[in-house]
Subunit: 338 residues, 2 copies
DNA sequence: AGATGATATGAAAACGTTTCATTTATGTTA
DNA sequence: TAACATAAATGAAACGTTTTCATATCATCT
């Protein structure tokens, strides 16, 4: 019962291997009669075309690799899910590359394409894990690739994201609109581009409102719950405390709220807290978290579509494609205490 | 600059393809001198062995496929992450198969192995997506496979999970120990085996404590936040309300708490709520959620190790391998109101 | 120096497809 | 009916490896 190959089927159906191949890949090229004949044999013996054989010949693996810092983060999981769907319905499979932020692992996964194991890359980190000659234009040196979440600054690659700067600005504007003047930010690591963009938005909102930008009000976190706790603590130590804290993701906002409440502060009466991402649980913490909503599904879909285009040989213009964000105002924000 | 193949390298280094192959796969078989010579050429021209070629020859894809109902659920994401790590360090890549519970998609991903695109399967659903002859023993008909989370009842396959029955029993015993007598359960769908096991544990704890098992106290949920809300509502409508609710996962517990608080109930003073899973956010909802902790990392690692063993040709005994759970008692549970 | 065994290398045959260039069959038209 | 156009089927080569078997090289020992 060793697995049959296309030649065996060909022999059994008394046609050539070429014909059997066509039965699967372009059935319209073969006459109804032989089509049926071949299908019958295929059913009888349970033949399955071997993808490796085909891949070798066509030089297409039918895989794409998604390089993600941490699949455990709801944002990433949400995006990946949409990607996987889009890929599957286009006949591609998704190789999961959770890198835990390690350059070495990014490399490893990026290498899959040079080894012919993947045809394209979806990149959610903030490094380009390909050896690149800086003096040459970047584009042609890269495989089909799209970068999600504004992880990379280069204009030469295809990117999909929410406009982080505008989104942060909108969030801060909202806080200003309900009377806050002393607005702190718990940012992400300063080496991640999307965090820098959010910082930019945060600052420009303040500036435009004529509010002084103070360094002490900007604390750098790590995008996890624990650093939300830590940063909130630092903020409480301040001589003059903020009346609102804008956290660059929901995890940190949750951590901050947790700590503030533990210290006896009422949210939002004493301090407003705002998040970013709108993860599932944002709605279910107490108080429910006001946050910036990112359309994860749409981001994922846009990513995969742009990649599929490239894989089909279509030229895709590099640069950012922005998807609309929205403010979800819940109960963790309120008018500033007088 | 068309990509070079092993023959080109062989020619450039004036050795045979066989030798080049050995340089990569069994370097100890080749003399230091030629090793260096070949490596030099490889570096110079940037050769990368093509995996498809190798796969075709060896009949091993180097991929495993993880079939998961929903990658978006923190439990699954946590497990997957560990799997991915284990796979990578054994030289395997993980194909992500998020099925959204659809049989059709389960099928699709299971088929990857018959198409030679994957060598083994990690299965987290509760169906066996392989055509199987019921009259024959199941084992030999399946590819290398391990099932996670007690999704499947058959004893003929390799399974890794927490002992759901024992865990549920422990949780309920704890509630009993702090004085609860009227303990409701918000279960998972009755067609998922792990939920049935938990139900079993729930009941046997009650019985052993001499507490009557009442059907009205068992409400079937869908394992998502919303159904936590719905089920809690039904429970509140009861003539005689429970003093504690044991939810079969944290999402439903979070939904239930949300609803109860909204209705003005104090947790845990009026009603205790207990979850299952110990997702990240369990600690950060208010009140923090008492729950059953599942060692996700360990589960993932055990799964992948068992699969790797099979892929190495070692025989693995079918049956459940149980991993230790633990009770995380936080602030959503307290002594029963008198 | 010659024999022996160990160690390195090479040649060639797969692996299962696709595809290009042909051949053969089937109609159609003059 | 012959010639032709079109459709359908075929054969052979190629894709890039690995691996078996045979051969060649090397060092070692008598």
């Amino acid at each position: 019962m060793a697995n049959l190959g296309i030649k065996d089927i060909a022999a059994l159906a008394k046609v050539s291997p070429a014909t059997v191949s066509r039965v699967f890949s372009s059935p319209d090229l073969v006459s109804k009669k032989t089509l049926d004949k071949v299908k019958k044999v295929v059913d009888e013996v349970g033949y399955r075309p071997n993808r490796m054989g085909a891949s070798l010949r066509t030089r297409k693996s039918g895989n794409i690799v998604a390089i993600i810092p941490d699949i455990t983060k709801p944002v990433n999981a949400g995006i990946i899910r949409a990607i996987e769907q889009g890929a599957q319905s286009a006949g591609y499979s998704v190789l999961l590359g959770d890198t835990q932020g390690l350059e070495e692992r990014e490399q490893h996964y990026a290498d899959l394409v040079s080894h012919g194991q993947a045809d394209g890359v979806l990149l959610f980190g903030s490094r380009i894990p390909f050896k690149v000659d800086e003096s040459l234009p970047l584009g042609p040196q890269l495989p089909p690739l799209v970068n999600g979440n504004e992880g990379i600054e280069s204009d030469e690659i295809v990117k999909v994201a929410v406009d982080n700067e505008a989104a942060a600005k909108a969030a801060v504007n909202y806080l200003i609109s309900i009377g806050h003047k002393r607005i702190a930010a718990i940012t992400g690591p300063s080496d991640v581009p999307s965090s820098r963009k959010r910082t930019k938005g945060y600052k420009s909102a303040l500036i435009e409102a004529g509010i002084e930008v103070e360094d002490v009000l900007q604390i750098e976190g790590e995008y996890d719950v624990k650093s939300g706790v830590d940063c909130a603590q630092k903020l409480l130590l301040l001589r003059q405390r903020p009346t609102a804290i804008f956290c660059f993701n929901d995890d940190m906002a949750i951590g901050a709220m947790q700590f503030l409440q533990q210290q006896g502060f009422k949210i939002p009466e004493d301090i407003s807290v705002m998040g970013f991402d709108d993860i599932n649980y944002a709605e279910y913490v107490t108080p429910s978290l006001s946050t910036v909503h990112q359309p994860l599904q749409e981001i994922g879909t846009a990513c995969i579509n742009l990649l599929l285009k490239q894989l089909n040989g279509e030229k895709v213009e590099p640069g950012s494609q922005y998807l609309p964000f929205s403010l979800k105002i819940r109960n963790s924000t309120g008018v500033a205490p007088k």
